[in-house]
Symmetry: C3
Subunit: 141 residues, 3 copies
Amino acid sequence: MEVRDVEIGFMIKLARGERVMETLLAFCEKRGIKSGVFNAIGAVKNTEIGYYNLEKREYFFKKIAEEREVASMTGNIAEVEGKPLIHAHAVLSAMDDTLSCVGAHIKEAEVAVTLEVFLTPFALPLARAYDEATGLKLLQL
Amino acid sequence: MEVRDVEIGFMIKLARGERVMETLLAFCEKRGIKSGVFNAIGAVKNTEIGYYNLEKREYFFKKIAEEREVASMTGNIAEVEGKPLIHAHAVLSAMDDTLSCVGAHIKEAEVAVTLEVFLTPFALPLARAYDEATGLKLLQL
Amino acid sequence: MEVRDVEIGFMIKLARGERVMETLLAFCEKRGIKSGVFNAIGAVKNTEIGYYNLEKREYFFKKIAEEREVASMTGNIAEVEGKPLIHAHAVLSAMDDTLSCVGAHIKEAEVAVTLEVFLTPFALPLARAYDEATGLKLLQL
């Protein structure tokens, strides 16, 4: 991981093999970042991707082992019980001539080749808290 | 809808059942926001999604009733005849094991579970005006 | 191309027929922009889209002649040997009732109807340099 401070945030380059969420969270903890937003492009592999099934009140995740382009990734950072948590969605495209896409919530992924992240931190912390109605940790604004 | 002021804009949480464009436009009108950009992640249902057919000079929209993940949403705000108008595109993914994506212009959608929006307003207004050549209201910069 | 200065960057409208990367790079050179990030929505045609095959150490590109919605586009700007280079990924959706998506790295595309770009420049330059391990020009942070 390499980082450069820019005016309204950080350009971050994650290296091949780094775990995306784990590495970004470690960066947030080190820098005292409690809230913010980011986007990213690059490629990932061993991705855990899925969605929240409101009826069953549980996440469905599947593992995509092969490398996929990160055609888009959008995320935010907020605290749960004093620790930063990342909520990120992405669209991943197949590295074959179909270039077909899957998309959803990203639990974790490993960088393939590179991942270029632009992260804007906020000065004030944001928090998530358990919401009885949905079973999710929702933003508390 | 809940809102938190952050350095360069607003974190906004839309609640289950709220209409995305209607609610964001009402927020813009209330706060005097005449221009800006935003992105969002979450889930929606009853989505009117489509594209502009330049040859026929009309929009094609279809309604997707079932819940879909908002894998990405990118939009901007500009005024038409003194009132804010949102132009937003999104990629929606199926909540099944395919996680397959559709994407296009979003006319309206209803929040399913939650929608987390990061909106950056601009101080100066931007305007859209009718363009004879395309039949669309294009940005006037 | 039309441009408006806003607080943290530029709103840019590319016109029908303009080449996206060529036009944005010319803008960056004219304004002395050596680094930054951007996103865009609109529609494109004659798109060269593909991915980097790490094993073969070469890009695979295909040409999509017909018009596609730009459901999302995310990119950044950094210098290679003193000249700005754009790295951009996008999700493009079909202008038919499937609204199906392809996504990947965009080499070049021609604007169909309009493309609305929000670009945030950085004051400090960023650089890319050839990386022996991957064969790619990676960000040097």
